[in-house]
Symmetry: C2
């Protein structure tokens, strides 16, 4: 039996291109005692992967990543064949792994499996915990969300609306603007590619900004900082503007002083203690139709590099996923 | 009776120059009921004044500022003639003000009056509260202090040493380096004008950085961010590198994400609730010789503009003050 894997074969310069990756076959070992064989079903691609390509991701090894799979052979008494699992085994279509490395997925039958890779997965938890835990969001506050058409931002924007906040989303296409206004129901959606961001923000935030969900950096952050209210908070979960090596530098940080702004970096794994409350809240909101989502699913394991590259072109609407099998 | 005042007469372009200011005489009114006449003794000049000159400071009015004076005529039963007071009456050598606007100064006879304008004043409170309240400093942590030869930094560096921390100071002259090593007793002092800051920091912080007392921004912050430890804190009390309009922008903010760094702006007035504890601690440290200080005192009210301009040339050793009278 073979395992197909996506390897990084050279370090990208700027935006990754197809030639930076290769599809490689490797022999699949037999599972030993305590191990299971997993067939991959869905793979996640995410902006955080880009900075890893500069050094942390080893060359000529399977790309690190997370996904959902199904146990097809088990040599562990604790996990039955057929079990759906979350894994961090990287970009492999099939693999053998210690059962202890997997987390069984408890699925609500009314929620599509793919949703467990975004609104009910790490990106949803990032949105939820970023607002409440890092951002200390209060009901009715003034909120701005960057990458509001993306997997984290679209959920953050809707959660803030559910909490009675005034919500402004920043995104990069008119399609996303339309989705945010009409489907997500936020107050104002700004297309930073076609609008003057500072002027549009000034108009859209007459009461200033209490919480800015930051995933971009650079010119976005410079436009937001002078609008922050005293004791505003900036949960910082990404800086996509810098990941491909461009980035002009942030010039308005001194605005943080008199405004007493708190900016704090975090990653989704910090938020694991919130999981139970998050899953309960989010499952309810999804089933009630209070949180809507978009997903862009590319079919076929070999399209994983294309999916990753597409993130930086804005080719995804909502969460970008690769489907390996049903 | 006349009052002499320092007015801003035009907005500076870049570093202020003498021609941006004027010495003006105004008639001094008679104190009415509830008012007092104050003779100024000491005036503070501080980096925070520079950004105000761009818009907040009105033209052709006395410069905003704080000082220590003595009540020479009183028409308020609550405050006797001869009382030493802290005031926020700006750059005036003599003025009439509501008694309620003054704070009587309780002076320890073993501490020079000028020290109440720095180590026991707003800059000392900024250093103390920045470390403990905003920076959540723990005993024995790894600390880096910017503008370590200045009024805030020199106190912050010594407080951190008193708490058993490993302390690295960044400053801009060899004289200040020598003072920080020999008088303040910190572990390493770096002259950022003559040393490669990133390389010097890497060598001086082998265990990373838990708390960075930030008063500069720009290249300083970019050099520090990649050295921050996970869950590091950056109390942000100033950004002197940006005050005169230069500043290249900060490029390394994405380092905050995985390191879970918290950066938080604050001003000294936020820390007033700490005053009692601060005064008790600091008076004890000063009298025991555990906190040393430098001060640069220019004699003569008319030298206030020169003192302010001198801050941006690094002409001060420690706190810059103007002495009007004894």
């Amino acid at each position: 039996m073979q395992s197909r894997q996506i390897h990084l074969v050279r370090r990208p310069s700027g935006v990754p291109v197809a030639e930076d990756f290769a599809l490689v076959e490797r022999a699949l070992p037999e599972p030993e005692a305590g191990e299971v064989e997993v067939e991959g079903l869905l793979l996640s691609v995410d902006p955080y992967m880009r900075p890893r390509l500069n050094s942390d991701q080893p060359l000529d090894e399977a790309m690190l990543g997370t996904g959902i799979g199904r146990v097809v052979r088990s040599r562990d008494a604790g996990i039955a064949e057929g079990t759906l699992v979350r894994h961090g085994a990287g970009m492999r279509d099939r693999f053998v792994v210690a059962a202890a490395a997997l987390r069984p997925l408890v699925r609500d039958p009314d929620v599509p499996l793919s949703v467990y890779m975004h609104a009910l997965g790490a990106t949803g938890l990032t949105a939820y915990g970023g607002l409440f835990e890092i951002g200390a969001l209060q009901d009715g506050e003034q909120v701005v969300v960057s990458t509001a058409g993306g997997a984290v931002g679209s959920v953050a924007a809707q959660i803030a609306k559910l909490k009675g906040c005034h919500v402004v989303g920043i995104t990069g296409s008119d399609d996303k603007v339309a989705w945010l206004r009409e489907q997500a129901g936020i107050d104002t959606a700004i297309n930073y590619r076609t609008q003057d961001l500072a002027a549009a923000l000034a108009e859209a935030t007459p009461a200033g900004i209490d919480v800015y969900s930051e995933n971009v950096g650079g010119a976005h952050l410079d436009a937001v900082l002078p609008r922050m209210n005293v004791r505003g908070r900036i949960p910082l979960c990404g800086m996509i503007s810098t990941y491909n090596g461009a980035g002009e530098g942030v010039r308005n940080l001194s605005e943080m002083i008199y405004r007493r702004v708190r900016m704090q970096g975090f990653v989704s794994t910090d938020l694991v203690p919130l999981t139970e409350r998050f899953v309960a809240d989010m499952t309810g909101w999804l089933k009630a139709g209070h949180v809507k989502y978009q997903e862009t699913i590319l079919d076929g394991f070999d399209r994983a590099p294309e999916a990753l590259i597409g993130l930086f072109d804005g080719r995804n609407a909502g969460k970008m996923l690769v489907r390996l099998a049903d």
